[in-house]
């Protein structure tokens, strides 16, 4: 049985990386990720984790070091936020196209300018198309559990794709939460050692990162696209096996009272819990509200989203960043696209809020639902930045 603790989520995530016996940690400090890397370096300094801790001189180098280390066959971990994620952007694409199963925890934070250290999903959206497997944690337990899941699925020879674990900065990263830690025996049952198909070693020399002419690049990208799509069985297997060992169930989307819901709130990340609270209140007041919480962002869970939303009249999608010059909220955009061809689909109403950590309360969700129900949004591309003054 696991050990129940009250622990800051960043510390829990670092503990998970330690329990997963990572070989190399390369990271650069950035608020609000710092506690993760600080604790990891403490664990290494005290001999609890046998790993090379590489204090790199920038995030671009952080992920570059991770690529080198993963290519050499080492279990590799890093973490960043916001500007750091943006700085390493070109390397993010390379890690996935080189098929290196690095695990990166992102303490989600807003992108400059203006500078802000607080939480939203603008950093998430900057890496949307990079080809990584991406999941969201809603609370500390999920964040802790998914570090193991990330290595389990990413390093699987049928996958070999890096995994990004998103957790809301400060809201999760700096919160002390109750969670259950697993023991070494369970980790050993769940997580086999990393055995790559190819590694950099003189015993079997390979060339990684060759360049492709136009005659071959398309095939390379097709292969990458198919590889990401083919991860589904392994992702689900990873969750089923974790459930069998811990009793904790995880799915590509989580639902709360959506069965007979007329209105479904759609969230990603920690807001999900607030939305559930709001849904319960509204149910008590007679409105059939449910919540769909997207856990698996990439590969996008089309089937599961369609299953949940096809019966709803309205989907209120709560985005955590603005896609300038586009449809407003990227998640709403993707929901609309996912539902477009469905015979039965809800009206999608898009709110953007909680930017740079501005608080979103259950009442706020209630207001959004009321507004969605009362006011017709004339054009599909309408969106509202919730709670803005002026």
């Amino acid at each position: 049985m696991g050990k129940r603790v009250g622990m800051e989520v960043s510390i829990a995530v670092a503990e998970a990386a330690c329990q997963a016996d990572v070989d190399v940690v390369a990271a650069y400090p950035i608020t609000p990720q710092t506690h993760i890397v600080e604790h990891l370096s403490e664990l290494v300094a005290d001999g609890h984790l046998d790993a090379e801790f590489v204090p790199v001189e920038s995030e671009h180098s952080a992920l570059s070091v991770c690529i080198g280390s993963s290519a050499a066959g080492a279990r590799t971990f890093t973490s960043t936020s916001s500007q750091g994620l943006a700085l390493m952007n070109e390397v993010v694409y390379i890690a996935s196209s080189l098929r290196l199963p690095i695990v990166m925890v992102v303490s989600n934070r807003s992108l400059s300018a203006p500078l802000s250290i607080w939480n939203d999903h603008s950093d998430v959206m900057s890496v949307r198309d990079t080809g990584w497997i991406q999941v969201f944690a809603e609370n500390g337990q999920e964040a802790y559990d998914h570090v193991f899941w990330a290595y389990r699925v990413g390093e699987d020879r049928r996958v070999l794709i890096p995994v990004m674990l998103h957790m809301d900065g400060f809201i999760l990263s700096h919160m002390v939460e109750a969670l259950e830690m697993v023991d070494k025996e369970l980790v050993n049952k769940y997580l086999p050692p990393f055995e790559p198909i190819h590694r950099l070693h003189p015993d079997k020399p390979v060339t990684m990162g060759a360049f492709a002419l136009p005659e071959l690049y398309t095939e390379a990208k097709k292969a990458q696209d198919e590889a990401l799509k083919a991860t589904w069985p392994v992702l689900l297997e990873g969750w089923r096996q974790w459930e069998a060992l811990t009793g904790r169930e995880y799915n590509p989307v989580e639902t709360h009272r959506t069965q007979d819901a007329e209105v479904v709130l759609v969230t990603m990340g920690s807001m999900g819990e607030t939305a559930c609270e709001a849904a319960d209140r509204m149910r008590n007041q007679g409105t059939a509200v449910g919540v769909m919480k997207i856990r698996l962002w990439r590969p996008f869970p089309f089937r599961q989203v369609r299953e949940v939303l096809s019966k709803a009249k309205v989907a209120v999608v709560f985005d955590r960043c603005v896609s300038f010059g586009g449809q407003g909220g990227p998640v709403a955009s993707e929901i609309r696209a996912a539902m477009y061809g469905e015979p039965s689909r809800p009206r999608v109403v898009n709110f953007i809020g909680g930017l740079a950590g501005r608080d979103v309360s259950p009442q706020d969700f209630q207001h959004m639902v009321e507004e969605a129900l009362s006011k017709m949004q004339d054009r599909q591309e309408d969106y509202e930045i919730y709670g803005v003054r002026g």
Partner: protein
């Protein structure tokens, strides 16, 4: 892969486009690049000093059983470094066809 590049399917690519055959560029005939001429060695005068061998950017000079260093015309690009550097001037750049 021996296939021409335009026939390679996406299924045949290794994950990450890793190339598993070290040095398989050897298939590529850079000797076709020559236009002006190629080196011809007069083994009578060669002192086996290995200067031509060590200075060839294309590793297109090979040592034979007798210890003489002779050009491999499959790769030789005809740059002329070997002829220029030979201390006894026993290498001449001769026109293609000779």
């Amino acid at each position: 892969m021996a296939k021409p590049i335009t026939e390679i399917t996406w299924i045949e690519l290794e994950p990450g486009c890793v190339i598993v055959e070290p040095g398989n560029a050897r298939k590529y005939k850079t000797g076709d690049w020559r236009t002006v001429g190629h080196p011809k060695v007069d083994t009578e005068r060669c002192i086996k000093c290995a200067q031509c061998y060590i200075f060839c950017p294309d590793a297109a000079i090979e040592r034979n059983e007798q210890g003489y260093f002779l050009p491999n015309l499959y790769y030789c690009k005809g740059c002329g470094i070997c002829a220029h550097e030979c201390p006894v001037k026993c290498i001449d750049m001769v026109p293609e066809g000779e």
